[in-house]
């Protein structure tokens, strides 16, 4: 573990949120004025099953420091089964990244319903903090894309 907790480091965090639950949950945390860091930028997708592992690797390639995928709770998917597929895909992908020696805390899946504004904000606060502690993503970035 790094001793330096990277207090001043501002990570770039990409959050993929499904349109029906988590994006609405994110909206709700806005409506309730629940604060979470500006580091988090949300990309709206119809369903967590739309998130291709390529998007996640692409984000890291381009210098993202953390990627989080949010979808409906299992059993509540708008499309009935999308998040179940997403769950398998992400489990296997994250396991592979771990196997390749990539820091585990850079990736996360969280199920956030449209009513869970609080959970959304809390999740984003925690995740940002975890990624901040890890420091910049050096293992998956493409040097050609590094900010000059």
């Amino acid at each position: 573990m790094q001793v330096n907790d990277n207090k001043d480091f501002q990570p770039t965090i990409v959050a993929f949120c499904c349109n029906w639950c988590s994006y609405a949950g994110a909206d709700l945390s806005g409506t309730n004025r629940l604060n979470y860091p500006t580091n988090v930028k949300i990309i709206r997708v119809p369903c967590s099953c739309r998130v291709n592992p390529m998007f996640i690797l692409r984000a890291f390639q381009r210098g993202a420091d953390g990627v989080i995928i949010c979808g409906c709770h299992p059993g509540d998917c708008h499309y009935t089964s999308g998040n179940y597929y997403a769950r398998r895909r992400m489990t296997l992908l994250f396991s592979m990244l771990d196997y390749l020696g990539i820091e585990r805390d850079r990736t996360r899946v969280e199920w956030v319903s449209a009513a869970e504004g609080q959970k959304f904000a809390k999740t984003m606060n925690e995740f940002t903090e975890a990624v901040r502690k890890l420091g910049p993503n050096r293992r998956l970035e493409d040097l050609r894309c590094r900010k000059q």
């Binding site: 390639q61 179940y84 805390d105």
Partner: protein, 323 residues
Amino acid sequence: MQEAMISKAKALLADGTVTRVIGWKRGEFVYDVTPAVFESAQELDEGFVYDDFTAANVSKYLIKESRKEGKILCFLKPCDTYSFNQLIKEHRIIRENVYIVGIPSDGKLDAEKIKSKGITGILSAQRDGDTVKVETLYGIETLPLADAMLEKCLSCKSKKHVIYDELIGEDGEVIDSDRFDMVEKLENMTAEERFEFWRSELSKCIRCNACRNVCPACSCEKCVFDNPQSGVENKAPADSFEENMFHIIRAFHVAGRCTDCGECSRVCPQNIPLHLLNRKFIKDINSLYGEYQAGEDTTSRSPLTNYDTEDCEPKIVHERGVE
């Protein structure tokens, strides 16, 4: 075995069951056999070979061959039958146009591995129990069989043919293999060590695409890495692309479909142990979603096109193993 295969092939050609035979053709040296199609008894007599170096998996060629006029005979080793079955499942091979003769295999030798032991000028190689005797330009060398055998054969998963029209010899059994030992060893390293291991291996990649092109699971009409529209097209090793995108995405694309035939590692000119990526997925699938062997049948749903409402959460990755 080779003689039995040749006479079987001749018989099937003669009675009109098949019009062509796919097998292996003798090369310049003892080890450089090439997959080839034979159309006559004469061609078979001249060049057909089945020996300790005929390791190439011919299943993938049948995508193309089974779409040609007439039926083709193929000789499949146990591991090849899994690839074949998987391709049937994916509607890539037209089963009716292929006549399969299952052949036994007790492991194949790897000329590159023998050379890596410092042996050069190879003229012939003979298996003798647990050793291999290699005749070279500079004398005779003997080395343990394990040092000369293909990695994929050392960790063979099955001697059983999962599909065939007939067999030469007895069918074997699924083997209790130790194929996940190395994956486990890696899992037990620290993240730092794993990163170093994979970085040093994957950075050797020259993006020749041999692993992809030989892979029976990689049968896409157009690979995403060749398609400028895909957003991940890339032709040559560039910065960390191979380490961070190519090999991960490729392994993911074949996850649940890879039969662990081991061809990727066999053909890699840089000796990258690519099978360890695929095996990681297989091991994870087995432990998280129940035992699954791709290619074992032609009907089951692959684990990534399936789910269970009680599946584990992705955070299991954070909770187990070594960080």
